[in-house]
Symmetry: C2
C-alpha cells in the first residue's frame, strides 16, 4: 500500500503518518522508487496508535504500548499501570477544567452583558488573588 491508502484506512492524515515515521514510531518499507510501502502490520500499528491517541495517550505512551503489544510475554499489569497513570492525569485535568469552568460560569452569569462598561468579569480579573 502507498501512504494515501493507509491514510484512508487508518483515518490518519498522510502528513501525520510521515511524521510518525520521522520519530521512529513506525518503520514502513520502501519501494524502489522511494515511495513508502506499507504492509498489513504497518496498517495495524497505525490503527492501534490512532486509537490510543484518541484515548489521550501520548506518543511516548504509544511507543510503550506498541512494544507491549508486540511482546507476547508481557504482564498485563504493565499495561494496566500505564493506563491507570494516564487515567489519573485525565482525572486531574478534568478537575482543573471543572474548577475553571465553575468560576468562569459564575462570572459570566454575573455580567449583564449590555452596552454599559461595568463588568464583574473584568473586576474579578483585576482583583488581587493572593494566596
Amino acid at each position: 500500500m502507498n501512504i494515501g491508502e493507509v491514510a484512508i484506512k487508518s483515518g490518519l492524515p498522510a502528513k501525520t503518518i510521515r511524521y510518525y515515521e520521522d520519530i521512529g514510531l513506525i518503520r514502513p518499507d520502501r519501494h524502489d522508487n522511494g515511495y513508502r510501502l506499507f504492509r498489513q502490520t504497518h496498517l495495524h500499528q497505525l490503527m492501534f496508535v490512532a486509537r490510543a491517541r484518541s484515548l489521550g495517550f501520548s506518543i511516548d505512551d504509544c511507543r510503550v504500548l506498541l512494544a507491549l503489544y508486540d511482546d507476547d510475554s508481557r504482564a498485563s499489569a504493565q499495561v494496566k499501570a500505564l493506563a491507570q497513570d494516564h487515567l489519573a492525569q485525565i482525572d486531574a485535568k478534568i478537575a482543573g477544567l471543572r474548577a475553571m469552568r465553575d468560576t468562569l460560569a459564575d462570572l459570566v452569569d454575573a455580567c449583564h452583558g449590555d452596552s454599559r462598561p461595568d463588568c464583574p468579569i473584568l473586576k474579578d480579573l483585576a482583583a488581587k488573588h493572593h494566596g
Copy 2:
C-alpha cells in the same frame, strides 16, 4: 521594581514576564543600566494576566481583555461574549475528556493486571474502530 520583585508579587516566573514583554503583552520601562523597571500599572497588568491565564484564557484573549479593561467606554457585552466563547470551549474539552475517561476506566476495570499477558486494554487498541 525589578523583575524579581514583580515576579514574587505577581506569582509569575521572571522568565514568563520577560516572555510577556517579548510578545508585546506588557511594556515595562527600563533603568539606565538596562534592567527592566516595573511600575504599579505593570504589576497590575501582570496580576490581571496571571488570573486570566489561570481561568484558561489564551494569551491573545488576554491581550483583548487588557485592552477592554483599559477602555472605559467598553461594553460589558464584549467581555461577556469573549468569556462565553471560552466557556463553551472549556465545556467541549471537558466533554471530550470525560468520554475518554469513561472508555479508559472501563478498560482499566476489565484488565486483571497480573503477570499474565492477556489484556483487554491492548485488545481494544488493536481492534478495528471503524466509523
